[in-house]
Symmetry: C2
């Protein structure tokens, strides 16, 4: 079983390295929008290629562990959570790329539309990513649960950005393209927050075996996975 | 092993029932947009609750199968693909709900913005869903591979819709809200197509053990999962 633990630890480290790349991509893509930095967008594109390769490597490693051993209880839950974490991280990389692409489009035009509450929203989403990844690294369920309420705050910010940007479109229709791209950035931030929430839920699942998706664990209908 | 096969078959049937619900939700949410039918949107909301419950039931079933047996090769691949399929189906339900919500917002205003190529795009995305679900039901790799090129066609339609809707916003700024909501519908359709593509890729993976994500299998760098 010690071989199993070694390999499980190695895969966990790889997942955390992948998470660190996602954080870098996020920072780069947001900087490309807020500081109008084309090179930051380019760096994000390059990192995505790395993430895609790591995803496949980790999936193979997890499936091999399942095939070669007969993991039970918490080990089995870790493997299933690992498969889901891996998918979430890859999607997060894709979403950061979407923001970097919007940044590149924005750079084709003079800075016109207000970037409204995007830096504020990005800051909150960034903290959700960090907390959910730390929760995974430390198997810290309390930290993971702390991520969940932030999702509602992000949704409210997104609605507020929507109203601000729609007003900007009405006031300055000549800058419609810029406003539409910024709107896409806010929607992508909201999706990134959704994925950070998924990661946090997966942490609770693999540590406690408690299903908290769709608010089940919160309503007391806890379900233990054997 | 026969108990294992029975339970595997049962879970496959449940996944297909969930897929049928996703198709219903998709049809309802699109009808809510194109035919301005509020009751169709409401029905989609109700079906989402069912999907969320089935997702948890199937995840538990798959994890129990993993825990109680020691599946190898194609059985193991089926279980891993099942976990991913389950996640994809749940997300597809969420996305259909997003379209139904946009439809409800659209109904607050008189029909103004042109719905551009949305019916055409929805038709193509619908066929991708059907093909990828059929490919899963029949373990039909050729059918699954046929889904992949459609994703590019959907991306092109989305770009075309974007240009049409941006022109509509410029021509009729008084109908900005409607155009923005329709734009969101086209982006959601694009994401649904992405998930249908994921389902198709998972079918190839579980039938052949070939990794085709990120174009790997298409470039001849086939990877067998042991």
């Amino acid at each position: 079983m010690s071989k199993f633990c070694d390999e499980q630890e190695r895969l966990k480290r790889r997942l955390l390295e992948m998470a660190a790349l996602v954080e870098q991509m996020f920072d780069l893509s947001i900087r490309a929008v807020t500081d109008r930095e084309a090179s930051a967008a380019e760096k994000a594109f390059i990192l995505e290629g790395q993430i895609n390769l790591i995803e496949i490597e980790i999936d193979e490693g997890l499936i091999n562990l399942l095939a070669l051993h007969q993991p039970m209880a918490s080990n089995l839950r870790f493997l299933v959570a690992g498969i889901k974490m891996n998918t979430n991280l890859e999607r997060l990389g894709d979403l950061a790329v979407n923001i970097a692409q919007a940044a590149k489009t924005l750079l084709q035009y003079p800075p016109a539309a207000p970037i409204v509450d995007i830096p504020l929203m990005a800051g909150l989403v960034r903290s959700m990513l960090r907390k959910s990844f730390d929760a995974f690294a430390l198997s810290d369920v309390e930290l993971a649960r702390g991520v969940l309420p932030c999702d509602d705050a992000v949704d409210r910010m997104r609605t507020s950005c929507y109203h601000q940007l729609r007003a900007a479109m009405e006031d300055a229709p000549e800058h419609l393209r810029q406003s539409l791209n910024l709107l896409m950035v806010t929607r992508t931030l909201e999706r990134i927050a959704d994925h950070a929430t998924n990661v946090a839920e997966d942490v609770v699942f693999f540590v406690e075996g408690v299903e908290i998706r769709h608010g089940l664990g919160l309503q007391g209908q806890k379900q233990k996975v054997r």
